[in-house]
């Protein structure tokens, strides 16, 4: 068993949170509230030490007064709490939207639309390897059928009905894969906690 008090605190807090699996109780509530408090405290200190102080207040203190501009823009967000001048919040929001849209729209189109379209197109080179050729065809059919499922301008009857039904199958396979991966992720977290309880705390495993 561990002699480190922090390991013991970690172990007890883990058990407190797990106690919710039986039913809601004061130990669980204590663990949950402590977590929220510690997380908030961590973020406040972290951002102060690593962002606000070195990137804003230290340059201002050194006489770089250009930093007054981001300071004012940041402070304008708080005008939301003063009804008379709350309209000022539109300035930093407008700035952020303009910056964000200008930066992300071309990159998004390039990385997530054009390159993905390229990946869906079946060219003769796709069949250089028969297996990859079959998969390319499969992806193309999947994309078309799924898109048809989301085409609502015409009633899904006849050919459109059959392809949209095939589209549902592709969507369901996608959901199934996501569900399977989600189960794996959640179980991994449990395994991690069990490894911590059995290893560093109880010393039963290496």
């Amino acid at each position: 068993m561990s002699s480190d008090p922090w390991i013991w605190i970690g172990a007890f807090l883990t058990l407190m949170i797990f106690s919710f699996l039986y039913k809601d109780n004061p130990f669980y509530k204590f663990g949950e509230h402590l977590f929220v408090g510690v997380a908030n405290g961590y973020y406040i200190v972290f951002y102060w030490q690593n962002s606000l102080r070195p990137n804003l207040f230290e340059p201002l203190g050194a006489g770089e007064f250009i930093y007054v501009v981001p300071l004012l823009l940041g402070l304008m967000y708080f005008t939301r709490f003063i009804p008379k001048i709350s309209w000022l919040v539109r300035i930093p929001i407008g700035f952020m939207i303009g910056w964000g849209a200008g930066l992300s729209i071309p990159a998004y189109f390039q990385a997530e639309v054009l390159r993905q379209l390229e990946g869906t197109v079946v060219a003769p080179t796709s069949f250089s390897n028969p297996t990859s050729g079959v998969w390319s065809l499969f992806i193309l059919i999947g994309v078309i059928c799924t898109l048809i499922y989301f085409f609502f301008s015409k009633e899904h009857k006849g050919v459109l009905g059959h392809t949209s039904r095939l589209g549902i199958i592709f969507i369901m396979i996608g959901f199934g894969a996501s569900f399977g991966y989600t189960v794996m992720a959640r179980v991994s977290l449990l395994i991690g906690r069990v490894q911590f309880l059995l290893g560093p705390w109880l010393g039963l495993i290496d």
Partner: protein, 297 residues
């Protein structure tokens, strides 16, 4: 209550108990469930394997949080072990505020492990020569783009406050031209930024180690070649650990490999419960149909 009604109404606490028992069991009873290596993990491993020693660096962005440690920490350690064994310099950085502590733990523990094996001084692993940790930076998109011009412009100092220009490694690695691949080990959508911005603008090779929840979203990027490989969840970590072990870069397998035995047992249990639930549902429907002659939703 009929048998089929009973199997659809199993007390959740019994399910939790069974689940916990099956997680614990493989740690004490030797169970070896064979794991096959998925192609995306092999691709990442092969990419790292193809980098010549003491040439270009591998940049690792540690962007995971303590709650996803069981999935991501073994990935980080296995990847570091692989790079250090092959003499590939490593530059670490983080954009998630919760990550620096974990990143430091992974880097220092693996560096110490290699240091302890060094027979002579030249074999030892030196900070600033073989690896550097640049720390956390706000405004990640601007930072990622600016590193294409000059890394020192974005990170004048490392995590510990040292001027990075004083490091031999950073004199060699000036921008992405000197970086073979950026591997993002992450529990949030950080890899997407690397694909959207530095990959699109500078053609940087991007690899990732992701939590299992995130993995399905990134498969399309593997198919288009925008990603050079990926470790997905604890399974991905276990696979990478196994590849590193099989190639003689590690003496033992890591924690992910051990965890995968529990993972496989749980998957079997969940599949059994899904089947039982469906059987129960199917027979309940039939029972209702028999009584009313019709099923009305």
């Amino acid at each position: 209550m009929k048998w089929y009604e009973r199997i659809t109404k199993i007390d959740r606490r019994i399910i939790y108990l069974l689940l916990t028992s099956l997680v614990i069991l493989p740690f004490f009873v030797k169970v070896t469930i064979p794991q096959n290596i998925m192609p995306q993990t092999k691709r990442l491993f092969d990419f790292i394997e193809s980098i010549p020693p003491n040439d270009k660096a591998v940049m690792i962005s540690f962007d995971y949080t303590p709650q996803t440690q069981p999935e991501c920490h073994p990935m980080a350690k296995a990847l570091l072990r692989h790079c250090f064994s092959r003499g590939i310099p490593v530059i670490g950085l983080s954009y998630d505020p919760q990550a620096p502590g974990l990143a430091l733990d992974a880097i220092t523990s693996i560096a110490q492990e290699f240091d302890s094996l060094a027979a002579i001084n030249d074999d030892s692993f030196d900070y600033g020569v073989d690896y550097v940790y640049l720390g956390w930076k706000s405004g990640r998109i601007a930072a990622q783009l600016d590193m294409g011009e000059e890394i020192v412009g974005v990170y004048p100092r490392d995590y510990f406050g040292n001027v990075i220009d004083s490091f031999p490694l950073m004199n060699k690695v000036r921008n992405y031209k000197n970086v073979a691949i950026v591997v993002i080990i992450s529990s949030a959508d950080y890899p997407l930024d690397w694909i959207r911005y530095p990959q699109t603008r500078y053609g940087v090779n991007v690899g990732a180690g992701l939590t299992a929840v995130m993995a399905p979203k990134y498969y399309p990027f593997l198919q288009t070649g925008q990603m050079s490989g990926m470790m997905s969840g604890m399974k991905g970590a276990a696979e990478y650990e196994k590849l590193v072990f099989d190639h003689g870069y590690a003496r033992t397998l890591g924690t992910a490999e051990t965890g995968m035995n529990s993972q496989s047992m749980i998957h079997i249990l969940i599949m059994i419960f899904i089947i039982l639930g469906n059987v129960g549902y199917f027979f309940s429907r039939r029972g209702k149909k028999g009584k009313t002659g019709d099923i009305r939703e």
